[in-house]
Amino acid sequence: MSLLIITFTFLETQSQARELGHVEIYYRCYAHMVRSRPLDTDPRLLAVKAGTKSPVDACMELFDLASMNKGLLASEQIPSVDDSNITIGSQIVKTFHDFHRTQWLQSDNVAAFSNRATNTEWIIDSTDSAYFLTRALFDPEVEYKTVVTSSENIAAIRNSPVDVPWRLRTDWSNTFGYSSPVKLDEYFASYQVDSTPVNILFSPEPLEFGRLIGFKIKTPQPFPTPPGGGAPLSSDIHALLGGGAGALSTPAYFILNNGHSFQKTNGGAVVPRRWSKAVLRDFLCRELPVIRMSDAEPYVQSDSSLSFRKNGSCMQCHHTMDNLAIATRNYAHTESGGYTAEGYNAMQFVRHYLPEDGPYSGPLDGSDTFHKTNPTGRFVFRSYDGNLINQELSNVSDIGTVLAESKDLYACAAKRYFEFFTHVDASIDDIADPDTAVILNKKDLDYRNFVISLGNDLKTNHDLRELIRKIIASDYYRQSDFGAWE
């Protein structure tokens, strides 16, 4: 009976909002960042208890255990550093990286890489887009805008207690249901020579396995050239799309969000719209439509053979996502593989078609040569403040430039980290849209305004550490319910 009373009491207690004490705030930030409790001997905990350190300073000292220096976890570089600090720092990196790769970037999971009995996940890191976020968060020399403007792909540096992880992966093959071992370090470049399939074996550099401790520029991995010469299917399987737009342009991000796998873009029915939706969702924190009905109506094409182009409400989404998607027209998600005595082995990759036909001048609803034309496009969306952004694109890297110049990219980052720490999903939608269903009450307007102000600061200073500090120092973080019920 008493147990029942107690459980009622706990529920009641929990629902009563109150301001946390200093030590409680440190416990809270420790739980959020380390996913554990501090030891009784934790020096920051003792200092907060003694009143010699503010909880915000203690939390930021904790955060700094994960800071990186020239791409490597700083605590790993100091031989004399306390082991517990290395462990805590590494755990903080893991917590945020888990958040970046699952809650923030909501790409299809790694299973998409393996759904055709391929082993792509061991060559192309399915989580590499999240590395741009994790690097920007912990490396003070990396500006936040590089998440969408970097022209170089990055790879993880990992620390594994196992000396030969690559060899182990080779042995894992049977865990995936093969009846005989398959060498995961050997792949096929498949070509047609005089109508005869020819497979050329090659061994891409393997990924690192183990605890994430830093980042490095990814080594280019050229595809084998075809027998008899000519251009390979891909000059570098790790090259960012279209000159580089950081996280949104990695081959993995393109493959996992494509929606038209193993098809060339034709400019009409077949364009990677799901990729466009992912870009809007992940880097603007917005769902379609991101323009108003009045913005879309001028682009309705009554003579189109595609039904969605004849309808204003359809074009409210399609005008944005189709114009964004066609900037990737020179790329296609494809696969290469073949059988050996040991079994079938294949990998997926992004094929690059060099533009050779100049600007597209074909039929209105696309054609079979569309993928070889100049990759122009347009980025059209309403900012959270109602301003219409409408910019031409000449390649994928321009998408990153438009995002980096917008206020929305930074408000989106602020929204994500605010949600990480408070579980409040602040709105940064275009709430001035007369057709919108989003009307916020006072509390939710407060959250929105706070997140937008954090975003504006981030656009100015590109300092994610400072953004985190402001969230932890906010009145919201001090409230047991993050201010939701006050």
């Binding site: 008493s2 030590v23 249901g177």
Partner: protein, 267 residues
């Protein structure tokens, strides 16, 4: 018996089935846990209903400037990593296998994604063993027959960092709490820990009778630095006073009540 009380009526039902007398049922941790799990199912239903009113996508049209509570705030329940770490912190290393089995291995229940790129295996005694239980996405060991490529293990890489409270989650947590507290050494670890914090070194197998100070210290194992309201303190004290058992068993009941409460899962 108060028939309006759900726990009392459930205990009576078990008693009428000849399983045990009401008082005996109260002493049977499994029966209590079963009844409490049902209670949690009802409580969680209420929580879920309340949370659903804080939905994020289909927001009701409110008056702008409405001073009411946020409709975009959600309850942030900690994931499997946090729960496992806290249980081990409170109950010591012997609790680790139980916490791993009932919490850490339940990606889909408690949240907390695995990362295929953190996985590595060691060959020990002729078998491939995952180096880190916390990071693994796949099955127990290297086997051609146990894991298929299309296995949902891969889905665990994208498991949310948080999962909503529900009956299944409560059930696994209660199972973990019960199993851990059935270990004398784990009880001893926790008891000695909270007594140490108030400057008393005691034998955890033979601790003093719970009093206001020690109950508060035990409470703070789960709710560090949080105030203990009078009603909860009195309830916990009554729990100890209501059984004629050795003191370590009284503490077992108190620690079980604390462990089963859900507030400590929300940092």
């Amino acid at each position: 018996m108060d028939e309006s009380d759900p726990l009392a009526s459930r205990l009576a039902a078990r008693s009428s089935n000849g399983h045990c007398g009401i008082d005996e049922c109260k002493g049977d941790i499994n029966i209590m846990a079963d009844a409490i799990a049902q209670y949690y199912a009802e409580a969680n239903k209420k929580i879920t209903e309340a949370e659903s009113q804080c939905g994020t996508k289909s927001l009701p049209k409110d008056n702008p400037g409405d001073p009411g509570p946020s409709k975009r705030a959600q309850v942030g329940i900690a994931d499997r990593f946090y729960l496992t770490n806290v249980l081990i912190d409170i109950f010591g290393p012997l609790a680790e296998p139980i916490a791993h089995k009932n919490v850490l291995s339940k990606h889909e229940v408690f949240g907390g994604p695995c990362d295929v790129y953190e996985n590595s295996m060691n060959r020990i005694g002729g078998r491939w063993i995952w180096h880190s239980q916390a990071n693994r996405c796949f099955g127990d060991s290297y086997s051609a027959t146990t894991i298929a490529r299309s296995d949902n293990n891969y889905a665990n890489t994208q498991t949310s960092t948080t999962k909503p409270s529900n009956t299944v989650r409560s059930g696994w947590k209660i199972a973990a709490c019960e199993s851990i507290l059935n270990l004398a050494e784990s009880r001893k670890f926790a008891i000695e820990k909270f007594y140490h914090r108030i400057g008393q070194e005691v034998d955890g197998n033979n601790p003093p009778h719970p009093n206001t100070q020690s109950i508060f210290s035990a409470y703070q194992l789960f709710y560090p630095e949080q105030p203990l309201n009078g009603a909860t303190r009195i309830s916990l004290q009554a729990l100890a006073n209501g059984v004629s058992e050795p003191n370590d068993v009284k503490w077992k009941w108190i620690l079980l009540a604390l462990c089963m409460s859900n507030g400590w899962e929300v940092p």
